[in-house]
């Protein structure tokens, strides 16, 4: 079986054999295991998974935001520099300037005791060395760009005076201020109402298209992914189990977990009497299952799946899956899966 080959052009972000372990009194939590993942300039990559899949920890690690009991290994190259080897000081220079993060709860990124104006201007003063007046002018312009109504009044206010949707816009404005090459947004719309979510996603789409910023969107919501991603990475038990272009992934998921995930979501645009749940429970990361981590919940699991872990292998140009028996010719997500035996002996 051929491993995916990487393009020679330099990726914006390249994780390789990237691993995160947490030491806890109950044992070592294998949160992220040997990840290989690239983000190209300007690309929107959705990282999808359920709680415990490692999707957030992966990028918390990239930003140096892991808890004290974490240990990271492997490589995380940002424009060729290994972020894991940078000193805290050097990392500070990259964060905020070249790459920025947006979290689910905007209040984690905002200082409740500081006016919006000062929080935004500070970023520019620190990273770009701007004078106060110039920094505040740029901050105001950015608030307008992200669609904050009455920006002149809002910039003088404190975070608690804004609604949740508006706070998230402020955080996005803050992330964009230094024109970063990469924005990582971790469930940025999960805490928002659906009409506000739609506005924020529209905003992300416009901003990444206009500025050529790469976006990594971490989410559990496949509905959100469909509307915004170029490429989708599906994670399970701290590993990538499938990676594909957004159309291919939804039309022909290769890995049973992806297919099951798509089938398990109810749809607002059609009537259905039931959805098909995924049986069982999320995996234990201290004692992960042998072989393929999904095998205890997989309808198609065979002996080989219980014994040997399938590598993340290229199954089609630009598509990777970690499965001994991927659905190569599945006609649709809901259609009957046709299993290929060609990959049996790998």
């Amino acid at each position: 079986m051929v491993m995916a080959t990487r393009m020679d052009t330099q990726a914006l972000l390249a994780l390789s054999d990237y691993t995160i372990r947490f030491t806890t009194p109950d044992g070592t939590v294998k949160a992220v295991n040997g990840l290989d993942l690239t983000v190209e300039p300007g690309e929107t990559v959705a990282v999808v998974g359920e709680s415990g899949s490692g999707k957030s920890q992966t990028f918390n690690g990239v930003f140096g935001l892991l808890a004290g009991n974490a240990e990271t290994s492997g490589e995380a190259l940002f424009e060729g520099r290994d972020l894991l080897k940078l000193s805290p000081r050097e990392l500070d220079k990259v964060r905020g300037a070249d790459m920025a993060m947006v979290f689910q709860d905007p209040m984690t990124a905002l200082n409740p005791a500081m006016k919006i104006k000062h929080q935004l201007a500070e970023t520019l003063k620190v990273h770009k060395g701007l004078k106060r007046r110039e920094a505040e002018a740029q901050a105001l312009a950015m608030l307008k760009t992200v669609g904050i109504p009455e920006a002149e009044r809002r910039i003088e206010q404190y975070p608690h005076q804004l609604s949740g949707g508006m706070r998230q816009r402020v955080v996005i404005a803050m992330a964009l201020l230094c024109r970063p090459k990469l924005i990582v947004a971790d469930e940025p719309t999960t805490a928002l109402d659906v009409t506000i979510q739609a506005q924020i996603l529209d905003l992300f789409r416009d901003l990444t298209a206009d500025a050529g910023t790469a976006l990594v969107l971490i989410t559990h919501d496949l509905g959100v992914v469909a509307g915004i991603a170029d490429k989708v990475v599906v994670m399970y038990a701290g590993r990538i189990v499938e990676e594909a272009g957004v159309d291919a992934l939804f039309a022909r998921p290769a890995m049973p977990y992806t297919a099951a995930l798509i089938r398990s979501i109810p749809r607002v645009d059609r009537d259905a009497e039931a959805v098909e749940p995924i049986g069982g429970r999320p995996p234990d990361l201290i004692h992960p299952p042998s072989g393929c981590p999904f095998h205890p919940r997989c309808r198609f699991a065979e002996d080989k799946c219980r014994r040997e872990r399938p590598p993340l292998a290229e199954i089609e140009p630009g598509r990777r899956a970690a499965c001994w028996f991927p659905f190569i010719d599945a006609t649709s997500a809901t259609g009957e899966a046709i299993r290929s035996s060609e990959t049996l002996d790998g």
Binding site: G223, P266, V275, R281
Partner: protein, 335 residues
């Protein structure tokens, strides 16, 4: 004609909030305003709306977990709102609730058996210990929990399993109506589907009537027979599921449908940008006339003058918009 189990008549719940300063008068927040609907036996009513629209307050006011300020709740011909505390306690065995946060809604110091048995102690005090235990084990099996787990504590369970405990507690008295308040919102997608299917199966088996409160329209579409849409505490639309989703009569319902993500990239790309701007206004100081007019893409001057009544737009389908014909003429998302 099916049997009417519950009717909610002009229900309002008002909260009194402290004024902005020490001497300022208290301000009133009308969380639920003049809500009326009825429920037939075996029906599932989905209540949808954004945060702060009053959907949870409405659910709790119906059960008198929050005392409504005005209006009546008539349960099997009796006015619940006029019952004494003792009579209400008796009525409660028929009325149950499931909460959003499965772990937080379970007492961490009680084991699973004690949690599930709690409502039984009140509803059927004459049961012996052994009978109670048998009932608990029976419902545990019904919700897919192994009876061996009876002595374990809530923190030992995942979110999905904790919600099964919450459901077991809700059905142990064999109620007739369950208010489900965002029962799957805190769960992972793959687990959500398990719980939704469990609720549907229990409803069938026990002949339950459900009020299903959720912000998630796709889940509501899956479980409900009828849909009620709330905006700033008022009903803006109510009707049969198919009709509401395929051809809504209120621009707010339409906007909610247009904003809900669809897990299909081809459809997602073809959709227009959301027409809604901004946030819902404060319920303390709602706009005059139609409360939705400040965000409505088709609002006119007249919308500020009078509150539109619920107009009949189809069979059993009502919408509170003066221009519902215009809304209905314009095709909604693929139904």
């Amino acid at each position: 004609m099916a049997e009417t189990l519950l009717s909610v008549e002009h229900l309002s719940t008002v909260f009194s909030l402290r004024g902005r300063s020490l001497f300022a008068p208290n301000v009133e927040l009308k969380a639920v305003s003049d809500v009326s609907f009825s429920l037939e036996k075996g029906e599932t009513l989905g209540i949808v709306g954004e945060s702060g629209c009053g959907k949870s307050t409405l659910g709790r006011s119906i059960l008198r977990l929050i005392e409504p300020t005005e209006g009546r709740v008539v349960w099997q011909g009796k006015s619940l709102t006029d019952l004494s505390a003792g009579e209400m306690r008796k009525a409660r065995r028929d009325l149950s609730i499931i909460f959003q946060d499965p772990v937080a809604s379970l007492d961490p110091r009680m084991n699973v058996g004690q949690i599930i048995a709690e409502p039984l102690k009140v509803a059927e005090p004459s049961l012996s210990r052994k009978e109670r235990r048998e009932r608990v084990e029976k419902v545990m099996e019904e919700v897919g929990l192994a009876p061996e787990m009876i002595n374990r504590y809530p923190h030992e369970f995942s979110g999905g399993q904790a919600q099964r405990i919450g459901i077991a507690r809700a059905i142990v008295t064999e109620p007739k109506l369950i208010v489900c308040d965002e029962p799957v919102s805190a769960l992972d997608v793959s687990i959500q589907a398990q719980i939704v299917n469990l609720l549907k199966a229990l409803k069938q088996r026990m002949g339950l009537t459900l009020i299903f409160i959720s912000h998630d329209l796709s889940v509501v579409r899956l479980v409900s027979d009828r849909i009620l849409v709330l905006y700033l505490g008022r009903v803006v639309e109510i009707g049969p599921r198919r009709d509401v989703f395929a051809n809504p009569g209120h621009p707010y319902t339409k906007a909610l449908l247009a904003a809900a993500p669809i897990p299909d990239p081809k459809i997602a790309r073809q959709r227009e940008k959301t027409p809604l701007r901004g946030d819902p206004p404060s319920p303390i100081d709602p706009p005059s006339g139609c409360a939705f007019r400040t965000r409505c893409p088709i609002a006119r001057d007249v919308c500020a003058e009078e509150r539109p009544p619920l107009a009949e737009v189809g069979a059993g389908h009502h919408a509170a918009c003066l221009f519902w014909e215009e809304v209905r003429a314009d095709p909604a998302i693929a139904g």
